[in-house]
């Protein structure tokens, strides 16, 4: 899976550079997020700007990351969801669980506030 990692204001931004986040590649995202929290990072932002399609496995990987954040007293937030991807969060009620921001800039402001 193509993941690009950037740190800004103490927030690790993971850019998912894939058109699909599905059962084929979601395990890679799950372990990448897990490793960040295990390495002691506290604030992780997953940016889904390039993701056009997400399935239940992709959602599951993000849920796993969210739970990982909680168990490490950290935070995992999401940014830049395309409308159809966002509708999958709504369908599965996960939009109530995650903090979702329109852009990385807005998400990072929220981390700092």
């Amino acid at each position: 899976m193509n993941l690009v990692n950037e740190t800004r204001n103490d927030v690790v931004i993971l850019y998912v550079k894939e058109e699909r986040l599905d059962a084929h590649n979601s395990a890679d995202l799950k372990s990448a997020v897990q490793k960040l929290f295990e390495d002691g990072k506290k604030n992780v932002l997953v940016d889904l700007k390039e993701v056009r399609f997400i399935d239940s496995s992709g959602l599951g990987a993000l849920v796993s990351g969210f739970k990982n954040a909680i168990s490490h007293q950290g935070n995992l937030k999401l940014s830049s969801l395309q409308s159809q991807v966002k509708s999958m969060f709504e369908l599965t009620r996960l939009h109530r669980v995650f903090e979702i921001f329109p852009s990385t800039v807005e998400a990072i402001e929220n981390f700092s506030s």
Partner: protein, 141 residues
């Protein structure tokens, strides 16, 4: 083939790397349905999703000891009726015993069949001695 009928019969190796291929075929078919008056891009996403979820399901139920097996998918549209059948030759499962996700509990898994049920009008899973068929239907109106 009749003028108003499309039938696509595909076999791919039971590996997740073929999910995007199957999903794209579903999207292309959705965009070709002239009679559909709803939003075709939403339908395209939904077909991509149910095909992806159903194929993952078939891969899971095909035994890991037989990695060379194929998954067969038949997508047919006749007038307003869309039917998708996904065949696997694993042990099968009873779809009626799968509970809906508990929205209060944060589980990593268990949303696939829920998504299929939500997006399609009817879903059934038939077991026979030779193979199992996950059949999903939707009225395209």
């Amino acid at each position: 083939m009749e003028g108003n009928t499309i039938e696509v019969d595909i076999k791919v190796p039971n590996k997740t790397r073929y999910l995007s291929l199957i999903g794209r075929i579903g999207e292309d078919i959705a965009r070709e349905i002239e009679r559909y008056s709803g939003d075709k891009e939403t339908l395209a996403y939904h077909l991509n999703l149910v095909l992806t979820e159903a194929m993952v399901n078939a891969i899971k139920h095909a035994g890991p000891k037989e990695p060379e097996k194929l998954v067969r998918i038949v997508i047919s549209i006749h007038l307003d009726d869309l039917t998708i059948k996904v065949y696997d030759d694993g042990q099968g499962f009873d779809i009626n015993t799968i509970p809906p996700p508990n929205f209060e509990e944060l589980e990593d898994r268990g949303r696939g069949i829920f998504l299929i049920r939500t997006l399609m009008d009817s879903v059934c899973y038939r077991k026979s001695c030779r193979e199992n068929i996950l059949e999903m239907k939707k009225k395209l109106v």
